[in-house]
Symmetry: C2
Subunit: 503 residues, 2 copies
């Protein structure tokens, strides 16, 4: 494509995006497309000849737009947000335009070193321990220090933490064994722990890593029960790890969640960390959504405990959820770089180079599942510089105030109940049970309410089922109001509440 | 960021990219940055207050540019290319601007259905069997049909193929067992096969999947020797699988490579496919780079054999390498959707929705490692429509002609030798051994040549070591000339050759 054509189309695309984001509120949040509707608008075979850009651009409106659920709509309260911002879009644009591939330090030193530095920035903003900094002290693995890496998603962070923890545990078992001839098959029976409320990516990672043959296989995976606040019960964790150890198994990894997907419950890191450490296991913290709140000092203790994340071996947060950086951007820090990379490093001749051999540089290919990688640090760099740390804190604080406000609206209406403790930007709520109503009927009324408000097209909420807890023996279907799409304001919550409370 | 500021900065960024790509040839291909040089230009802590865009933009030139190795430079002949194009950059820009997340069909139906259709388009362009089409016949897994998915890299495709093959093999073993109580730990001893020339991602996938405890663990992984053309020797594969089966192990997966990283050797798919089928195993084809050549009918038989990829269970190609679509864009097709998704599917309540439950839609979260996903189909859609199938074929043909031309230059100079059969856009070559010269000395002269030409900054080549083969008992260090960056022309190869042959 000639440069002049690219300039012209590029400007047009930028304008199109600016208009889209400026007017997204006028669209229905959720796509009304039926299964197959988009497919039916597309030819079944590729065009043989080049097509004209007016036709291609027209198809954005004809084919794509009706099939979008608008994640940047201020009425999007579903799942967790996948927020974005101008600076982040510019960063992704520059990433695409430069077209460098940063698998090795040598294949673009700036791609690696900017990422290392920006991850250090964010670690300090979050108040994470200096063991997670690239400039911090040596790691427990003996191989030297910590540092952060940008991956696509928290799912990948969980998977890599799992294989890193396994790598360290198997290595230690080998070293402890008198014979060096222990085969992997005869290695330790490893066990992995997370709460029943941990994200589904924990089970998925176990399936990929070969530690579970399916979603229900519990040969290596233990899902620990929760307290009334849906946070992992440390006493139950301790008992499970002790039982496994007593039976000759090797507790290898605990995944604690700071902000569970269903209800942003916060597993108590300090109590869990002590238990994990007593077993010599790895503690990974999945703070994909709620971790962002830790950039505000006043929310840090509630999320990380008094000891912060000092006992964690790795910690993951997704700026693409709640730090104005568009998808995909997960940052994971490890305090044990040697174990992290040891689990993933395979070096064929065609990737060898003098700088890698010198040991003076980071090759991020060894920190992640794929070999190749984009220059994702650019967007996070732009976001932090455009908003400044203070701007990002203001963004988080604004959303948490909105969540408080929405919670107060729910509490003000006797028909509704707040279904779980609000910890930051998510409110779980529901219509309470009527007198004598069976649980299934209450759930059905809540499901009906969800469908009704979503059908308006003005807002989009999703649901979850909160499991039985000590104080409530029945699982409950609840609605989730998750902040925050970038443009959300108080008036959007007023409208949401008007829709919810209309009947 | 206000819409007006985004428009202005967006236009500026588009212009910057247009200028960069237009003038990239004037820059040194390889960054001259020293380790730590980029880090030293960056503050150690994040800015507290917002920074001004003139400063941020200036830092692109001050911090980023000197630390780039320019993958889009027409003198970039290293590794495999990571090519890009105007339409692809526009597609990634639109992806970032829309900011939708396509984990479920319901979270943006167009994100899923456009991807399904574009993968079908590309499968037909490549001449792949209809079992890989979303509209094709039912799969051997019994669960219904095939289809394609866009992932980030071929490494992820290999990993998912490995867990899908394991899922199918374990399921069959369970069904075959009279007792349903077979525990996973007591499941079959699975074995996986690839050639010694397969990509390092095969070993990495085995480490992640728990089938290897480290790069050298061969408890489950067999690396099969090659013929003189560095392609897998089917006789050796057959023997290895037979031996494993005779010993009670379960051959589960063979990864064949169409276009190895070192030398673009082509494993013979038909012979391998028959062997794989006779063992009831899974055949995955890694055609990350060379697969693109199959869009030209005249190159298809040489790459896929007379039978095409009819015996493959999955097939991966990277449009981000050689189809003008910028990184990251891998397309993988499977003919056994049930096994592919069965290995990865975990469904928590908070992801349930009516459309998924209906079984009428694809949820791509179950086709990949991460949960979340970008709208990557946009860039491939734009590329295919802008160039048309004929334009992409012309692009590939042009590069293969350039590779032929370069090969003829090498052959015309008695000091040089072509080190392996050229199959498409890669030429492996070296200075031949002088009379009586020891192999290490020949390698050293070639390494010296590589360093000299790369030091000019005009070109960038990388090396590999080709292993011993039946006709040559000594491994040899060779230089690789890999096409193609988008702007490469005959004059660039003339200049490359002038630099190489100058001494």
């Amino acid at each position: 494509m000639p440069a002049e054509q690219f300039r012209k189309l590029g400007h047009e695309m930028v304008d199109r995006i600016a208009s889209y984001l400026d007017t997204v509120e006028s669209r229905p949040v959720r796509s009304g497309a039926e299964p197959g509707e988009t497919l039916a608008k597309l030819p079944t075979t590729a065009p043989e000849h080049p097509e004209a850009w007016p036709d291609i651009l027209a198809d954005i409106d004809r084919v794509v737009m009706p099939g979008l659920t608008h994640w940047q709509h201020p009425g999007f309260f579903g799942f967790f947000p996948a927020n974005s911002s101008g600076p982040a879009i510019l960063g992704d644009l520059l990433c695409a335009g430069l077209g460098v591939q940063g698998m090795l330090w040598a294949t673009s030193p700036a791609c690696t070193e900017l990422e290392t530095r920006v991850c250090d920035w964010l670690a300090e903003m979050l108040g994470l321990p200096e063991t997670f900094l690239s400039t911090g002290p040596g790691g427990s693995g003996g191989g030297g220090g910590g540092g952060g890496v940008i991956q696509g998603t928290a799912s990948e962070a969980t998977l890599v933490a799992m294989v890193a923890a396994r790598h360290r545990a198997v290595g230690r078992a080998r070293n402890a064994s008198e014979s060096r001839s222990v085969s992997p098959a005869a290695g330790p029976h490893l066990t992995v722990y997370a709460s029943t409320q941990a994200h589904s990516s924990v089970v998925k990672a176990a399936m990929i890593a070969g530690l579970a043959s399916g979603p229900d296989d519990r040969a290596h995976l233990r899902l620990i029960g929760t307290r009334d606040d849906y946070a992992m019960d440390p006493a139950l964790l301790s008992r499970a790890m002790d039982d496994d150890a007593a039976a000759g198994r090797t507790p290898c990894l605990v995944i604690a969640t700071v902000g569970t997907t269903s209800s942003t419950a916060i597993d108590p890191l300090e109590a869990i960390g002590e238990i994990v450490r007593s077993h010599g296991a790895w503690l990974h913290v999945d703070a994909a959504y709620s971790g962002a709140a830790c950039i505000c000092p006043e929310f840090r203790a509630a999320h990380l405990g008094a000891g912060g994340a000092a006992l964690a071996d790795s910690f993951a947060v997704n700026p693409h959820k709640w730090l104005l950086t568009n998808f995909d951007c997960n940052v994971t820090w490890t305090a044990d770089r040697a174990a992290w990379t040891g689990a993933l490093s395979v070096t064929p001749e065609y990737l060898r180079n003098a700088e890698s051999a010198s040991g003076r540089v980071i090759d991020y290919r060894d920190w992640q599942v794929p070999l190749g990688r984009r220059f994702r640090a650019l967007k996070l760099w732009f976001v932090i510089r455009h908003y400044g740390a203070e701007g990002l804190r203001a963004y988080i604080r604004g959303h948490i105030q909105l969540a408080e406000y929405f919670e107060s609206l729910v509490r003000s209406d006797g028909r509704f109940e707040v279904a779980s403790p609000r910890t930051s930007g998510l409110v779980c709520f529901r219509l309470g049970a009527l007198e004598g109503e069976r649980p299934a009927a209450t759930d059905a009324r809540n499901r009906g309410l969800l469908e009704r408000v979503n059908a308006t097209g003005e807002v989009y909420l999703t649901h979850t089922v909160l499991p039985e807890i000590p104080s409530c023996p029945v699982p409950r279907l609840v609605l989730r109001m998750a902040l925050g799409a970038p443009g959300v304001e108080r008036r959007h919550l007023d409208r949401l509440w008007a829709l919810l409370s209309a009947d």
